[in-house]
């Protein structure tokens, strides 16, 4: 019975969606606001990567909320999986190849992550992508040596402070008499590493926060008690 009703529901939804998209024009739309941003961004923001200009300046508020969602989800997941695995039977260490690889990869991933974060306003990439790379850098050794624990306290400290720093930069603009999250420090020279005002600072905060959050989350998932 339930099976039948879900099939009916599915059929209805499929017809609805196909009917919706029959006339959808692709490739002909005129992005008025996007074009305006493309023209205004180099002067207003000074980031060579216009997506970064949108993510951190024009829609910086969205990014703050996105960070908060990640924070909330990580916190909730940690809460749900609160009970750590019993210490009696940790998984054995991985084989030599994985061990060596994780030791080798750690510094490489660390540098790659930092590079991606710091060049976010110039090239593709930025705080989120770099942050994930950082998280993987810290998580891989854990995967190779399951007995080891990461310092959750330290990670949550970094996480909280980085989030507060993002809001703090926004509030600093307000104290300066501007709107919340307005870019500070001028725009600099387009394409230079030290350009785009406070945007790189924001991306560093994003990177640290995303990195510490995801590393904690991954560790939580890995440390939780096996069911099987």
């Amino acid at each position: 019975m339930r099976r039948l009703s879900s099939l009916l529901f599915l059929a209805g939804l499929v017809t609805l969606i196909i009917a919706i998209f029959q006339p959808l024009p692709v490739g002909t739309a005129t992005p008025a606001v996007g074009t305006a941003i493309n023209h205004a961004a180099p002067e207003q923001v000074g980031a060579a990567n216009l997506v970064t200009a949108v993510v951190l300046a024009y829609r910086g508020f969205d990014t703050l909320l996105e960070l908060t969602i990640l924070f909330t989800a990580a916190m909730a997941a940690g809460w749900v999986l609160d009970k750590p695995r019993n210490e009696a039977r940790p998984d054995p260490d991985a084989g030599f190849i994985l061990l060596a690889a994780s030791d080798l990869l750690f510094p490489l991933l660390l540098i790659l992550g930092l590079y991606v974060i710091l060049h976010g306003h110039l090239t593709p990439g930025g705080g989120f992508q770099g942050g994930v790379v950082l998280a993987l850098a810290f998580f891989l050794p854990l995967l190779a040596r399951p007995g080891r624990r990461i310092d959750h306290q330290l990670f949550s400290l970094v996480e909280g402070l980085a989030g507060a720093a993002f809001i703090g930069i926004g509030l600093a603009a307000m104290l300066n008499g501007q709107a919340f999250l307005a870019p500070l420090f001028g725009t600099g020279e387009l394409g230079a590493l030290f350009s785009a005002g406070s945007l790189p600072l924001l991306y560093i905060a994003v990177g640290l926060k995303v990195g510490s959050e995801l590393a904690g989350l991954l560790a939580h998932l890995a440390e939780t008690e096996a069911v099987g």
Partner: protein, 150 residues
């Protein structure tokens, strides 16, 4: 054989992902597969968002060497999709943690059984003796998750 032009093809890709995602969510019985379906559905929606103002004459919205090209892609949908991808993965992580927690307690992730167990638990907390609900499988105590929890 006639190949549809690339715009139509991309639209089909987005639609296909959306429909497969929804279909998987509705028809699957294992919670993990439903979560897979949700992830695919979100990917399809993201692709559609990028397609909303895509034009094949444009170039990537990155200024190289200080010269602003004439036709740059619209950066807004790209920023939105960045946000949506991260939101999606956050929700995914939470859903998987909840799935782990549930499996640990109920020993199953079959959604029909989960629903029956939930109804039972709510009724038990409220102090109602529940007759066998029609939707519930015959013996909810039997653990028969695929793969078998051994």
């Amino acid at each position: 054989m006639i190949i549809p032009d690339s715009n139509t093809l991309l639209l089909i890709a987005a639609l296909g992902l959306i429909l497969i995602g929804i279909g998987g969510m509705v028809l699957s019985l294992h919670l993990l597969r439903i979560i897979f379906g949700l992830a695919l559905l979100e990917s399809g929606a993201n692709l559609l968002l990028i397609l909303a103002t895509y034009s094949d004459r444009s170039v990537a919205p990155i200024i190289v060497g200080g010269k602003i090209p004439a036709h740059m892609a619209d950066p807004i949908p790209q920023a939105l999709v960045l946000t949506a991808i991260v939101i999606g993965v956050a929700v995914l992580a939470l859903a998987l943690s909840l799935a782990l927690r549930i499996q640990r307690a109920y020993g199953t992730l079959d959604v029909r059984e989960l629903r029956a167990r939930l109804d039972q638990d709510i009724a038990a907390e409220a102090g109602i003796n529940l007759p066998h609900s029609q939707d519930a499988p015959r013996s909810p105590a039997v653990v028969n998750a695929p793969g078998g929890a051994s």
